[in-house]
């Protein structure tokens, strides 16, 4: 509950606001305007002082008044936009005082939030670019961010802008450098060589930030380095020593650095990087040591022999926390790189003495089961496990043991038959865990069917090198993450960010849910922070759908009713229908769902909106009538342009067609 102020405070504030010369004392003016944010009772009193403030001679007063406009707007609560005020703020963009200019942008952004924020057209963009050098670093960083939404009209203009921005890449403030870099990446999205060039130039500032005194800055910079490495794997290879961990760094920075080292490894530095990583494996912190071992395992997919040798040496240390992770790494490795199986099998004997935890035991037992025919003492190691199965605490280990022993029985029956019998007996007669018992029963019955059947079922391939390709994400184009650069996305990590924005979305949508009717234009918004999930539409010719801010249902309804249908079409549609799938697919191509009926409703309807880079709006209605096996599409457009309309419809058709294919 925000503090609303006692009655006296409100009264005092009203009195102050009624003073026609309040802005004569600038500090007093500021104090009053700053306090209004929590006091809804004073709305009608603020307007005049703020309007006076906008025209005041003192720049300090104008700064306060400009932000006051945003406060006033937000205080009113309703989304009514005062056109005259907006115009005044736009004209104040030409103010002498740089801070007033930046405040105007901020204020307009808040007031026009529902209409997509402040509009940056050509004159404004050029004006801002010319004023850039007068701003301080905070202003520069912010203006660079606003300029992201400006689309230069010609190539010539684009390169003029890039030239103007050049000096900001050399700024001493990392915020400005990163802001300028992002703007470069976004503006030059069709010129990959310019993008690469910029990333080369930002290397210095990023590396400086990576070894900065401030741990926090260092961490954020490392996250961005990883982002760049996803697209340009060799980018930091010659600077690999910068990413060596130093003893006193906190854990989270060390982990990031190890990840970076993994990603920048190449033929020239692999020797040094592996030596460094080996040093970390004996770190006092067990967590960090294990992370380093997993990292070596990751590098082993490319440089198998060297890594397997290092890992084998680590086994010689006979440390529990090291051995267990090494064995797990081996298990993953033989699955992806079958050529190292021989070396791994030779290294395994003796490990069992140093493994106590569930994960490690499972990995070891799996290896013994699958590659047991190459490990001479495999049956005896497994026999030890069978002997001690009663005291085994992890059910997962018992399950793994059952499968492994049965596999080994197929290749070395004489040595295994007796203990397999004992294990099965134990699992069926004495085991209390149902899953283990069922697994035991299942294998028992399988054996009753006959040995050939067991072979057919259990002897699957022992490795799958193709999985490595699937797991290793291919080099991603710079454009896929350019819009995430210099935001929180790389810092959280893509996956974590997705869950954050999802739960944020759910929260915002939450209170509206009860109102859901079968379908309605004013139904629940499907919120999705599309700004962050910007994805380029692949080759759709001239059409470029931009992830616009979510239209409100009301605004959509108004626009929908005011426009005529520009295009209508019927697509065939059979069988089942999953609205969620469709919505997700549409999201990918930047078409937003405004409202849709619940699955199974007949007829089923959905309303969609999309906007292209020139600001043209496409509003769409989907109408599905299962009886007729067809889907009717009606599209309305706020600017009549057949060319873009046709591209839009082809995009829509592709999406719907794809969904139909997946389903059938």
């Amino acid at each position: 509950m925000p503090y609303l102020g006692s009655e006296d405070v409100v009264k005092e504030l009203k009195k102050a606001l009624c003073n026609p010369h309040i802005q004569a004392d600038r500090l007093r003016y500021r104090n009053v305007i700053q306090r209004v944010i929590r006091m809804p009772g004073v709305q009608e009193y603020i307007q005049q002082p703020i309007l006076n403030g906008l025209r005041d001679k003192a720049s300090y007063v104008r700064r306060v008044a400009v932000l006051g406009c945003a406060k006033m707007h937000n205080l009113h609560g309703d989304s009514e936009v005062d056109g005259a005020l907006v115009n005044e703020l736009y004209s104040l963009l030409r103010d002498q005082d740089p801070i007033v200019v930046v405040n105007c942008l901020r204020s307009l952004e808040e007031i026009l939030k529902l209409e997509g924020g402040v509009v940056i057209n050509k004159p404004i963009a050029h004006h801002l670019l010319n004023r850039m050098s007068k701003l301080d670093q905070w202003g520069q960083a912010e203006v660079l961010n606003f300029l992201l939404r400006y689309q230069p009209r010609s190539e010539e203009e684009l390169f003029d802008i890039l030239n103007l921005l050049d000096s900001f890449l050399k700024s001493s403030s990392p915020g400005v450098v990163m802001g300028a870099t992002k703007l470069f990446l976004i503006l030059a999205k069709k010129f990959p060589h310019v993008q690469t060039d910029v990333l080369v130039r930002v290397k210095g500032p990023l590396l400086a930030a990576c070894s900065s005194e401030s741990r926090e800055l260092c961490f954020v910079a490392l996250c961005h380095v990883r982002q760049i490495l996803h697209s340009l794997p060799g980018h930091f290879s010659s600077h690999y020593k910068k990413f060596f961990c130093s003893y006193s760094e906190p854990h989270y920075i060390k982990l990031q650095k190890v990840e970076v080292l993994c990603e920048l490894v190449n033929d020239e530095n692999v020797q040094q990087v592996l030596e460094e990583l080996r040093g970390y494996c004996t770190d006092v912190s067990a967590d960090f040591a294990q992370a380093a071992i997993f990292a070596i395992g990751g590098i082993a997919r490319t440089y198998t022999d060297q890594c397997v040798q290092i890992l084998t040496e680590l086994l010689g240390l006979r440390q529990e926390h090291i051995t267990t992770v090494v064995v797990q790494t081996f298990r993953d490795l033989v699955w992806l790189c079958p050529q190292c199986t021989e070396a791994v099998c030779q290294a395994l004997p003796g490990c069992e003495e140093n493994i106590q935890d569930s994960e490690g035991k499972q990995a070891l037992i799996w290896l013994l089961g699958v590659h047991g025919e190459r490990i001479p003492n495999a049956p005896y190691v497994l026999e030890d496990f069978v002997e001690n199965v009663k005291s085994e605490t992890f059910p997962a280990v018992k399950m793994e043991l059952l499968t492994a022993l049965l596999r080994l029985f197929l290749s070395r029956p004489a040595e295994c038959q007796d203990m397999l019998g004992r294990l099965l007996y134990y699992c069926i007669e004495e085991e209390k865990d149902m899953a283990v018992r069922d697994r035991g029963l299942f294998y028992y019955r399988l054996l009753l069917v006959g040995i050939d059947e067991v072979k057919r079922i259990l002897c699957s391939p022992k490795s799958d090198p193709t999985l490595g390709l699937l797991e290793d994400p291919a080099e991603r184009p710079v454009n896929s993450w350019a819009s995430d650069f210099n935001t929180l996305v790389p810092v959280y990590g893509k996956a974590h960010w997705a869950t954050i924005s999802k739960c944020q979305g759910a929260e915002r949508c939450g209170p509206e849910l009860p109102k859901t009717s079968s379908f309605a234009v004013s139904g629940p918004l499907i919120p999705e922070d599309n700004k962050e999930r910007e994805q380029e539409l692949p080759d759709s010719g001239a059409l470029m759908l931009v992830p616009n801010r979510q239209l409100t249902a009301d605004y959509f309804e108004k626009t929908w009713l005011s426009l005529k249908v520009a295009h209508q079409q019927v697509l065939p549609w059979r069988g089942e229908f999953h609205p969620d799938t469709l919505q997700m697919a549409l999201q990918v191509v930047n078409i937003q769902t405004i409202a849709m009926s619940r699955a199974g409703t007949r007829p089923w309807k959905a309303y969609l909106s999309a906007q292209d880079d020139t600001g043209c709006l496409f509003l769409t209605e989907l109408l599905l009538e299962p009886e007729n096996s067809e889907m009717q599409i009606s599209v309305k457009q706020n600017e009549a342009r057949t060319e873009t309309l046709n591209s839009f419809i082809s995009v829509l058709e592709t999406v719907i067609g794809t969904i139909e294919e997946i389903k059938s």
Binding site: M1, P2, L27, R30, Q34, I37, R38, R63, V64, L67, A70, I99, V102, R106, D136, Q137, W138, A141, N145, K170, S172, P174, G175, M178, G179, G204, P205, L207, A208, A209, S211, E213, S214, E216, L217, F219, V220, A221, K241, K242, F244, S246, Y247, S248, H251, Y252, I253, L255, Q256, D283, V284, D287, L317, N486, T487, L488, V491, Y492, Q504, E507
Partner: protein, 428 residues
């Protein structure tokens, strides 16, 4: 756009809390932040945390947490920069940044925050502009005492060497107090270098990295121009060659925007019109290949040398044989700590430590020269300060002020060179 800003003590007590937007939570957000921070699993980074639609971004500075919350996907670089700038600014105004000074100057801090941020947007952070608006005066608890070395920052009495400095610059607010007209005009110039060195077990250098900056703290009336002369052999990049001999080679330099670089190319002179307060004058990354033996030039000395050697688990007893009485060695948290208050250049010190490792009769580790180390004997890290010495050889030749002080005597100028170890690690 910032929703809230707060400062927490190292124990999590909120010292300062400010809500800029009036739309989110309340003071318990600060408590929530601290709970989240302390409950974080080890492998997750605390720098940016998310809770309930709100991002927490913080820095740790002089054992305080400076935290902002925001609900938008902002630029992390700018925010962290703002936080460090705020930390410096608060240090400038309150004398030094610490739990004590903050809680003594709460009114001043809120006044500053009111000026710096409006509705969650940065207005200005320049000491110059802010001084026109800040009315409250800093409460400085006690006169600077030579023996109180706990609350000092970078300037002034960080090392014993600076005991000679007669001023209390370290804990003095930049804003000249109106009552005290006899304030001296003073300029402090620090050349600070941070060394990170990694030495392999065979003695070869794996990594040497020096990051340095020149910092200026000025108590002069603003707008006065000053000239700083740097060593002439200062070259930037790999190709440039200047002067004779090895020279100083810097990979990269960046300058603060107030630095006038006209004369830099020709004479290595920086001209600037400094705003008051503390600013990074420029920072450079430097890669120098130098072989550092225990012996520095005999006229310089290393101070506060501390050797930290992690020991195998279970080591209990320690017997020591040290060469001078002022050294100290003790076992703490599974590691050996050997403190040497000062090491004269050109000298050699030795210590013989003997420890009992349970289980295996471990070989007595003699200094750093063990042959086959038992597991758990970690890399030795060394921390030290080298006053009056820069590893790169960068020197400030002169510092000239180009203005006539009105009435007052000539301003005092203090120039200090200092290197300290960021990470100096020797693998065993």
């Amino acid at each position: 756009m910032i929703s809230q800003f707060f400062i927490l003590s190292s124990k999590g007590d909120p010292l300062i809390y400010k809500d800029f937007r009036g739309d989110s939570g309340g003071r318990d957000v600060a408590e929530l932040f601290y709970r989240k921070l302390t409950g974080l699993p080890g492998d997750e980074s605390p720098v940016v945390m998310h809770h309930d639609g709100r991002h927490f971004i913080h820095i740790r500075h002089s054992s305080l947490y400076l935290v902002v919350t925001t609900s938008e996907n902002v630029s992390p670089f700018s925010l962290l920069e703002l936080l460090s700038r705020l930390a410096t600014l608060l240090g400038d105004y309150c004398g030094s940044l610490g739990e004590g000074t903050i809680s003594r100057n709460v009114a001043l801090v809120y006044e500053l925050l009111d000026e710096v941020l409006d509705y969650g947007y940065v207005q200005t952070t320049s000491t110059e502009m802010l001084r026109n608006f800040i009315q409250t005066e800093a409460v400085v608890s006690k006169p600077f005492s030579l023996f109180d070395l706990s609350s000092v920052g970078l300037f002034g009495a960080e090392t014993q060497q600076s005991k000679v400095a007669p001023s209390s610059a370290a804990s003095r607010p930049v804003l000249s107090s109106r009552s005290d007209q006899s304030q001296k005009n003073e300029v402090f110039l620090d050349v600070v270098e941070r060394l990170s060195v990694l030495i392999a077990s065979n003695g070869s250098l794996l990594k040497v990295d020096v990051q340095g900056e020149i910092r200026l703290k000025s108590f002069l009336p603003s707008g006065s121009e000053m000239r700083i002369g740097l060593t002439e052999e200062f070259c930037v990049g790999k190709s440039e060659l200047r002067g004779y001999g090895p020279g100083i080679r810097v990979d990269e330099v960046s300058f603060h925007s107030s630095v006038n670089l006209d004369e830099f190319e020709s004479h290595r002179i920086l001209r600037l019109q400094p705003p008051q307060g503390e600013w990074d004058r420029g920072s450079g990354r430097l890669q120098v290949y130098l072989k550092l033996r225990c012996d520095l030039p005999s006229k310089s000395q290393a101070l506060n040398v501390r050797l930290h050697l992690p020991l195998p688990r279970g080591v209990v007893s320690l017997s020591q044989e040290l060469s001078s009485p002022e050294q100290k060695a003790e076992l703490a948290e599974g590691a050996l700590r050997w403190d040497l208050p000062r090491v004269q250049g050109g000298s050699q010190l030795s210590g013989l430590f003997q420890m009992d490792v349970p289980g295996s009769p471990g070989p007595p580790s003699h200094g750093l020269s063990t042959s086959a180390p038992p597991l758990g004997l970690g890399p030795a890290s060394l921390s030290f300060e080298l006053p009056r010495h820069t590893c790169s050889g960068l020197q400030v030749r002169f510092l000239r002020l180009a203005f006539r002080p009105c009435g007052n005597a000539n301003p005092h100028k203090w120039v200090r060179h200092l290197s300290h170890s960021d990470a100096y690690v020797i693998r065993i």
